[in-house]
């Protein structure tokens, strides 16, 4: 085994199998349909937005659904696809062949990432189509704002979709790390959601501790802030919905940040899995 060299093609094969397996699951289909239904429902009920132009209301709801269901998909798919293989013992058949455990883990991560990419690309495409349709027609919102007030740029919507995909990719990698030493997929899913809450709230918690002047609490939050990635960096959907654009420096920085964290989580997951007794 140790003489077998690391193979990207074997990893790609595992990724392809993971992708096909996940796409066949009803869960993926259900979440995709829910996200699409949510986007269309928001579009239909655009007039219920009291304070925002229709396009902003649509993007608010659409990105809300995308972020929420995307996070659920990332956590559940990453946990199920990895722990499921272990629970069903199919992993033994794979690892009995000359396959590195790292190839297995990274292949799983790549498969989940591609699945998420498909999910985000289709959902963002649908959202963009609805927003463009909305902006193309004249009209006023119920609040009296011109429909075109704060025109939303299509490229900004796509860039925002990309940023949300990066966030869910990091989350999937983090869940995979937990799965690599968790005994059950349920534990991995629960831990994934806990990690999501920590990553989302850490910057707010840090500000709150600073405001309260609690030194020890600030230290604890500081340590957590070092260990976990800060998901507040990805919260740009509101700004894009308000007509803002994402600077290239931000996009480059957040892409690099996400790749680095996904790499670290993937590497550590491979390390844990290497020492795991199956």
């Amino acid at each position: 085994m140790s003489r077998t060299r690391f193979s990207a093609s074997r990893m790609a094969l595992i990724a392809q199998n993971t992708l096909l397996e996940c796409m066949r699951q009803r869960f993926f289909l259900l979440l995709s349909l829910l996200t699409a239904a949510m986007g269309i429902a928001v579009w239909v009920f655009c007039d219920c937005g009291f304070v925002a132009p229709r396009a902003k209301f649509l993007l608010d709801g659409g990105f809300g659904a995308l972020t929420f269901f995307g996070a659920v998909l990332a956590i559940v798919t990453a946990a199920q696809s990895f722990s499921g293989e272990i629970e069903k013992r199919t992993v033994l058949a794979v690892l009995a062949r000359p396959v590195w455990r790292m190839e297995f883990i990274l292949g799983k991560l790549a498969g989940v990432m591609i699945l998420l990419l498909i999910f985000y690309a289709t959902s963002t495409g649908l959202l963009l189509g609805l927003v463009m349709w909305e902006q193309a027609g004249p009209g006023m919102s119920s609040a009296g704002f011109p429909a075109g007030g704060g025109q939303v740029s299509g490229s900004a919507v796509l860039a925002c979709g990309l940023v949300q995909w990066l966030r869910s990719g990091v989350l999937a990698a983090l869940t995979l790390l937990v799965s690599s030493y968790a005994r059950s997929s349920l534990f991995a899913v629960v831990s994934g959601f806990a990690a999501l809450v920590i990553c989302n709230l850490q910057s707010v918690a840090s500000d709150a501790c600073r405001a309260a002047g609690s030194g020890w609490a600030e230290s604890v939050v500081g340590v957590i802030g070092v260990i976990f990635p800060d998901f507040a960096l990805y919260d740009v959907a509101d700004g894009v919905a308000a007509g803002g654009v994402l600077p290239t420096t931000y996009l480059a920085g957040v892409t690099l940040y996400s790749i680095a964290y996904a790499g670290v989580f993937g590497g550590l997951a491979a390390c844990c899995f290497r020492h795991r007794e199956l």
Partner: protein
């Protein structure tokens, strides 16, 4: 060296080397430290709408927590849904429910100034009428009426003071504070101050500065009103009806007559001054 942790750890963990958890945490900490500059770079790269609600002395605004807990634009949807419920409570003249729901809306989404301003209007005007109607069909002594007006106006101003923390540059909030001070409390001095602050905010409505001058005049500060209007008039565009440049000019002339300003010191609008200079030069 290889210690089995399964016996000492909860059953949710698999058997791993004792070094593995330490390795994971060390790896995460090192990665976090190494990526800290990149994190700071992304944070300062000028992406729009990274929520930066003001941190209050007593802690953090509830809206900031909800912004982090409720994903993306769901916050706006939830706030709109709650605002519908505010309307339902408003139609039913249910005061406790209306006030509680206004607070909930703000807690969920404190970004739109309309929620703050409309909430303040409901508290200052509608709730006052509901309270008075509930007392003997509105036939109440003037003292009681004044007290109810004052209580509700103060509640609305308190609500708007919280809004100012979130939207320090919003002219709409200062204007609403001015309106409540003027129409509900009859406090011209405070109202004038609020309109002045509104006129000094970024992108203010033209009328804020005019009302400030008018209130100064009503307070008897004619000289201050005159100076204010003289300074205001050159900044007003002639081609925008909302600016009411001619009205401001008329008011300046009225004040000049009232204050008996000598002819040579009287205000001459910029365009007329230019014409006068041109005709002098040609002579």
């Amino acid at each position: 060296m290889r210690a089995c942790l399964a016996g000492s750890q909860p059953a949710v963990f698999v058997t791993v080397s004792s070094r593995t958890p330490a390795l994971v945490f060390t790896g995460l900490a090192l990665a976090g430290l190494a990526l800290w500059p990149l994190r700071a770079f992304v944070d300062e790269s000028g992406a729009p709408s990274r929520d930066s609600s003001e941190i209050r002395p007593a802690g953090l605004s509830m809206a900031r927590w909800t912004s982090a807990a409720i994903p993306g634009g769901m916050r706006a949807l939830l706030a709109d849904g709650l605002w519908l419920k505010v309307y339902a409570a408003w139609v039913a003249r249910d005061r406790p429910r209306t006030e509680a729901l206004i607070r909930w809306v703000i807690m969920v989404d404190d970004r739109p100034t309309q929620f703050w301003v409309n909430g303040a209007r409901i508290i200052a005007y509608d709730v006052t009428d509901w309270r008075l109607s509930a007392m003997n069909g509105g036939r109440v002594p003037s003292e009681v009426r004044r007290r109810v007006f004052e209580e509700q106006a103060c509640a609305a101003l308190e609500h708007l003071a919280a809004a100012r923390i979130r939207h320090p540059d919003s002219a709409a909030i200062w204007v609403e504070m001015g309106n409540i001070n003027l129409y509900r409390r009859g406090d011209l001095r405070r109202a004038a101050e609020c309109y002045r602050r509104a006129s000094e905010s970024p992108d203010p409505p033209y009328y804020a500065a005019r009302i400030h001058a008018e209130l100064l005049r009503r307070l008897g500060h004619d000289r201050e009103a005159y100076v204010w209007l003289r300074r205001l008039h050159p900044t007003l565009p002639n081609n925008d009806e909302a600016a009411m440049s001619d009205v401001v000019l008329r008011r300046i002339q009225e004040l000049e007559r009232k204050l008996k300003v000598p002819e040579k010191d009287r205000y001459v609008p910029g365009n007329l001054r230019t014409k006068a200079t041109e005709s002098t030069q040609s002579d």
